[in-house]
Structures are given as C-alpha cells and as structure tokens.
C-alpha cells in the first residue's frame, strides 16, 4: 500500500514539476525616478559680459566600481581625483554661478530637478560650497531661491575674485541637514545627495 502511495505521490510531483517550471510573464522594466544624473554649473562673467564660459556639466557614472575579483585593495587610491573640474577665472572680477540639477535618464527629455530641490523642498536641502580661501568669496544672487525661513539656497551666487590663486572647492547638495548654520560640511549633518570638486584657477588667462 505504501508503495502505491509513494508512486502516486511521485507522479503528482512529476506532473507539478513539468507544468510549473516556466515563468511566463516578462517583468516590466523599472523606470528609475527622482534621480539626479547631472549637475550643471553655468558661469557668467559679470565684469566682462562678453566673455562666454561654456556650462560645466558634472555627471556621475552609475557604475564605475572596481570589478576585480581578487582580494586586492585596489580602491585605496580612490581619492576622487577624476572628479575635479578646473574652472579658469580672471582676477578682480565678478561671476554669477548658477547651479542646476538634471535627470537625464531619458536622454531626449532631460528633467530639470532644480525645481524639486529649490522650490518644492527647499527646507530639506542645503547646497553648500566648502572651501577655505580669503581671496575669493561669494554671496547669494538676488534671484536665488530661498527656503521657508528666508535662507538662501546658494544655487544662484555671485563670486568675487581678487588675486591670482588656485582654489579647491567641494560642492555638496545636502539632504535633510540637521542645521543650515555652519562652516564645514560636518556641521550640517544630513545625507549628501550630490558631491563634486571644482578647482578655480584665478589668474591671467588667454581668451
């Protein structure tokens, strides 16, 4: 009797197996949303309006991680060197920096994410330029965005240069900062949504 039960069970199992090992529906592709894929810094020379500076794009490759499968610590040298972008500026000049954020997932129709950040959730965001140098300074532009406390977001800024210098700057877009008061990145807390380095080369440049 047992033999019978077992052979019947085996038959059931076999039938189930044959009929059910196919997955018929193709999964839908997931459209990635609310993604910043690019920040664009547009710089205008206010002192010499005729000078044209091409907008600088900061794109972040989605996948540039190490793909060695050994145990080497190949990433120890990763100090973000590749992310520095050199910007040539004149001495004793005024520039307007206009930072915008974009979603290029659909390359034909880039979405301006600046509105999401600066208009819809300005209180949750704190764009911040971190640098230490007395020869260059910036103030918010009159048309810069403000949060509900009237605090400027520093997305549209006026920069003033004095003497020739190379200035190393890190730009951050901080999400949910614990405070917007501070002088170093560590003061603001929160999570970094965007981070990249720029180097201002201030001096006499060939046009």
């Amino acid at each position: 009797m047992l033999k019978n039960i077992y052979s019947n069970l085996l038959l059931i199992v076999f039938v189930l197996f044959v009929v059910s090992c196919e997955k018929d529906d193709t999964p839908e592709a997931e459209l990635e949303m609310e993604v910043f894929t690019r920040a664009t810094l547009t710089i205008t020379n206010l002192t010499e309006p005729d000078e044209v500076i091409a907008p600088i794009n900061f794109t972040i490759e989605a996948h540039d991680h190490d793909h060695d499968d050994d145990h080497g610590d190949d990433d120890h040298g990763d100090d973000h060197d590749g992310e520095h972008t050199v910007i040539d500026l004149e001495t004793n000049s005024e520039y307007k920096f206009d930072m915008t954020f974009w979603d290029d997932t659909d390359a034909a129709n880039p979405i301006d994410m600046t509105i999401d950040v600066a208009v819809e959730t300005p209180d949750e965001h704190h764009p911040y330029y971190e640098f230490v140098d007395s020869t260059v300074s910036f103030t918010p532009a009159a048309d810069d965005y403000r949060d509900s406390n009237g605090k400027y977001l520093n997305l549209k800024t006026i920069w003033t240069t004095t003497s020739a210098r190379e200035v190393d700057i890190l730009f951050y877009l901080i999400h949910e900062p614990t405070t917007k008061e501070g002088t170093t990145r560590a003061d603001f807390g929160g999570a970094t949504d965007f981070e990249f380095g720029i180097e201002l080369h201030i001096g006499e440049h060939e046009d």
Partner: protein, 793 residues
Amino acid sequence: MILLTTGFVFSQDCNLKFEGRVIDLYSEKPLQAAVIEVLGTNYNTITNNNGLFVLKNQCKNPIRLKISHINCEDLFATINIEESENQLFYLDHKIQALDEVVVAEKKSYSYNTTAKIYSLDELQKDRYSNKGLAGALEQISGVNTLSTGSNVAKPVIHGMFGSRVGIIYNGINLENQQWGQDHAPNIDISAFENIRLIKGASALRYSGSNPGGVVILESKLPKKIDSLYGKTIINGMTSGQGVNIVSSWVKSYKTGNYFKVQGTLKKIGDLSAPSYVLSNSGVNEKNMSFTFGKNNADNNWKIYFSYFNNEIGILKSAHVGNVGDLLRAIESNEPGVINPFSYAINYPKQKNNHLTSSIDFQKVFNSNSKLNLKYSFQKNKRKEFDLRIGSVRDVAALNLNLNTHNFNTNYQRNFPEGEIDSGLFFEIQDNFSTTGTGVKRLIPDYLKTRLGAYFTTSIKKYSSIDLGFGFRYEHNSNDVQKYYHNNLWNSENYEELLGQYVIDEVFNQKLIRRKIVFNTISFNAGISFELFDYYNLGIQYNFVQRAPDIAEMFSDGLHHALASIEYGNPFLKKETTNKISLDFDKNIGSFRYNISPFLIFGKNYIIVQPKGFEQTVRGAFPVWKYQPLNVIIRGFDFDLLYNLNDEITFSHNTSLVDGFENNTKTPLVSIPPLTMKNEIQFSIPNWKRFFIILNSKNVFQQKSFPDNNSVTSIFENGSRVDKIVDISTPPKGYHNLGLDLNWGPYNLSNMKLNISLSFDNILNTSYRDYLNRLRFYADEMGRNVMLQIKIQH
C-alpha cells in the same frame, strides 16, 4: 509548582477503580484540569473542579501514571492498585531557568541525529518574548546575533547566518532569509511552545542546505480532553517606552478536536542609547495565528494559519548619502540625528508582511509507523521606504513579494533498534517586485522549483551507542529574469558570458532570462556513545551542498538599511561545506559540562564583502560583492552548569569562532568575537516563589578581520586631505550585566501569575557591537528595565 496526589483504591476483581486527587501543595487547593494518563494504554482523564479524578476498569497491575498540568513539570507515579489504598506523591518542581540550554535534550525528536539538540524551555522563551527569535536563541552557546540597528536581527550559528541557518516553524521552512542581511526572520516565537536548535545540518527531514544549523519551532499537540486554557504575557520596557502583549488560548475537546488562537501586539518607540535617543528606532508589530485540528486514534489533521506584520524604523542617522557622510559618522561619537523621543516611525523604514497557511494530515498505521502529508503556502511581502523627494516621496523604494507553495510527505517507522524517516518534497517559489518603485530591482523576478527526497535513520543497537545517518537530495531549478543596466553590463563585460540570454532591451537596460539548475546532496553521519560512566562522546560529520541564493547571484542595487550597494555574482557555483564536530559531555550530576569543538571546510563558500566604492547619483557608496572563497571556520563551544546546592546554580558558556580564507589566510568579515556568558541563579530557602538571575556577558574585541578600508578626500582645517574610511576595525569589547527578578507562580482563582523584573545593561554601558551593521552610527541600547506579567489561565 508542587503537586500532591492522594489516591484511594477500590478493588473489584479485575475491574479496578482508582480515585485520586491532585492538589497544589503551596495553596493546598485542588488543581482543576490536570491530565492523568495511564501509560501503556490509551486511557486518560482529567481532574474536576475539586481536583478529583477516577480511573475505571483498570485491569493491569501495577499501573504507571503520568500526571500533568499546564506549565507544570509532569509527575510520573507507579501505583499498585491492589495493594495501595492511599498514597502520596510529591513532585518538587524547582523553577530552573538554566538547565536545558546547558544540557541538551536526549530525545531525538524524530530528527534521527546524534547531533546535540539545544532547547529553550518555556521560561526562557517567555523571558525573551519581546526580543524576538534571535534574542532568545542568543542564550545558547555559539549563537550570536547579526543585526541591522536594534530591531532587525538574525541568528548566527558558528559564524554562519542567513540561508545557512534554517528556520523551521510547524514543519515549514521559513522563506525569506534569502532576501539579505538586513531582513529579520518574520516569526513570532510566542506562537510556539518548543524552540530547539541544532548546530549543523542535521535535520535533513526539513532542510539540507543549512550548514550553520537549524532552528525548529513547534507547537504542542493539545491533549484529548475538554479544556480551555491559555497564557497571556504583558511586557513593558523603559527603553522605547514599549509594550508587548502576547495572548494564546487553546480549546480542546475529548473528541480530539482542538482550536488554538494566538496573537501578539507590540509597540515600541525610539530606543535609547546611554547618552542619546536612537531616533527612528521604533517598531510596530501585529501577529496572529490560528490552528484547528483533530486527533483521532489512527489519523490526525491540522489546519494552520498565521499572519505576521511589522513596521520597523531604521535609525535615522544611518541614512548616509555617500562615503564622506560615512566617514563623518565613523569619526563622530554621536549619531548625526538625535531627535526627542517619539513613537512615530518615519523614513527610512521597513514594512514586512508574512502570511502562512498549511494543512497537515497524518495517518497512523500502527504504533510503529505513520505517514504525514503536508501542504503549506507562504506569502512574504516586504517594503523599504527611503528618504526620497518629488513624486515618489511616499513610494517604497523596494517592494518585494515572495510566494512559496510547498508539498511534502514523509513516512516514519520505528523498529526495536531504531527508526527510519523518509520523504519527498516539492516546492514552487515565485519572487517578484511590484513595479513603480522608481528604483531598479534589488532582487530580480524569478521562479524557483525545488524537489527532492530524504532518508534518515537512527540506530540504537547497544544501550550505550547511538548511530544516526541522513541523506537528502535536492533538485533546484531557477528561471530568472533580470534587467542589467548597460553600464554594469559593459563594465563587467557580461556580453561575452551572458549575451546569449538577452531577450529584450529597454531604457539602457538589458533583460536576460536564464535557467539555472543545481543538484545538491547533503548527508550526515554521527555516533554518540558513553565513553565511561556519565561521560558521553558524540562525533558528527555533515556534508552539505547549498545552491546559491538568487540574491547572492543577482542582487543589484542600494541596500538602504546597510548604506551599501550590493552586487550579486551570476557565476556562483554550489557551495560545499564539510563539518566535523565533537561533543564531549557529562550530563548527569550537579556538575555538568559540554565541550564541542568543530571544524568546517567550505568550498565556493559565498561571502559578501565590501569591495571598493561606487559613485552613484547619491554619492559614493561602499560596494559589497558576493564572492566564492575556500574557507576554514573552526572553533568550540563550552557549556558548564554547576548546581552548588538547592538554592544556587551557576552556568557558564564560552564560544570562540575563527574563520579565514584558506589561501591567503585573510580573516572572514563578520565573524563573532570571543564571547563568554555567566549566569548565577539563586533562590532563598523557604521562599520558593522567588528567584534571581544575575547574568553577565563578555564580548571581546574581534582582532581578526579583513582590511576593507578605503580612502576619501575631505576638507580638514582648511585644506583637502585624504582620510581612511575605517569600516573594518571592530569596536572594542564590552561587558554587559543583567539582572532578573522572578516571582511566582501565585494562584489567582483558576489562574497562575508570574511576575518578573529584568534589567538589561544595568550599568548603562555605552558600547558598539561588531555584528551590528549600523555600528558606525550609534551605540547599542542602554539600560532597559522590563516588567513582565505572565498569566496562565
């Protein structure tokens, strides 16, 4: 509790009648609904309101009785009906919390293994009823907890966790452990009376792919009597100002029908470290289970249904944007976000749902053989919410579903010299993501089919030698459909190896469809024998093949709770482990101990390790990749129990594990450090309803760890400097002291009341734990005072 039984005998030729009374010695009140079984027969009865019972038509002489009462230890008594007219039986049931963990149960529980079975008794289970499965199991030597913050915890056995540790509840293999490390088992321990643990893959009836071990949760079968009983536990705790209520009720009938219902409600707010609130660390949990069954003489059946639902806050400060944030978190002593206490669970958070239904049927052919059939269905759902902006602000970033149908059958047969158990199983599992998350799938959609068979046997040829043997074969077929981002596809050079599987291409993504088949076998063999009087030696060998999880092969994306990016390895082969373990124990007498060394060789042992950083749209993230390694894991567990006298019992356990990659001797990541636990239980003479347990846990610093550090550049004192992001160095060791005060049981009309007051981390020590993956962000919980009221009704 103490039972006192008085008996009166009426002798009527062969038609003997025995009348008895069961009384609680403390209160001297009769005990209602105590069950009296005449051993060796099917005869049983229960006591009435006055504690009286009558045994009729007794022919056998002498008879042996088993007298049991809910939550009391069973009393066995032999009565010579013709001779005795009036007898007294004493059972001094001393409440002993430490016994069972230290010395495993001898009974094989049909697992047909000579491996040691560790068991948590009811007291220990209830004591940890608000801590979850991992917390309760941590009492056992060699068992640690891998956690993500304070509320997500998985058991680790001998350094192994996740898919390597099987969790079997009511005979069903819990199916959500393959979702990754930040996913706690969705199981409510309060729904089960027995929790047992076997270190190693020695329960091949249930599972063959768990080299770490198996946790088995089972419910007791109610007796065939008319009765209504149950238990309610109320826990209150200071940390998180939490409340946890568990209640279970069983209604049983003489006919063999029974109905059991159990529910748990848990609400905990933000927990507290010694010097700050752990913001967004609350939990809400709602569980419920029903069982309906019938026990007949030659067959029995059971329908089981359970629902588990929880919402878990993930420490707010653990939400980091990139490696710079991680560095700042590591360098800071305090979490980045400290808000006032709140019950609110904000983003980031997890929502889990787990539904189980099962039908069991058992046919008993005679007292020696039975056939079981079981069908079960599990539905797991998990959502993870992240800090997002725009239109997807309130949309889950991860939305996973896992449906599992399992059908299995087994046949057990007892022989005078042993037992055999064999069975077949078949399973279909459908894993899919609900689309619309706006985030690529962490785990691809797949359909998994598993089928196979097992055979286990135990042989007891000589009284002092036990042999156990088991074999299990499993065919594992996966139909996986995965989207690969073109960037990853190109950078990993997948075209060459996976190009043939591409079936579609949409939005810079390639859809591949691949069938992956694994055939695995597992077997174990063990012997346990009495070396000399009171001393036993067990030798156990396990050979385990485990098919890689789909997550290990294909996971892809941001692990929000872990602040990391995880990449699967689509070329993984099956993992093979060989484990040899010894158990040397003395398990009789007031001084008992157990030494269990083990050695594991792992081939293609799959490990997820930090491997570089990736620049994403959110910033740089550490990347964790699954890799096959040849490893050696070794160590030992040592347990000791010393009954100094009736009032004082001391227990100690030590566990040491060491794991490394065999070629380079590189230590493995997340191996538990040396841990020592000591407990002293003492009671006061003549005050038997009170006892104290003082416990101490010493966790040493893990000195053996791989270097997975990286470098990032930040501004410091006005200039850019390169800084090491030290995610490797384990935190310092710590010492935790705890105290439990227990009162009871007290009789309240028909109920029993137990009260306990427990202090965890009584010294309010600030510490971090190596096995907590959010250890970079905040200290562990500080002092926590818990009040537990337990009512047995």
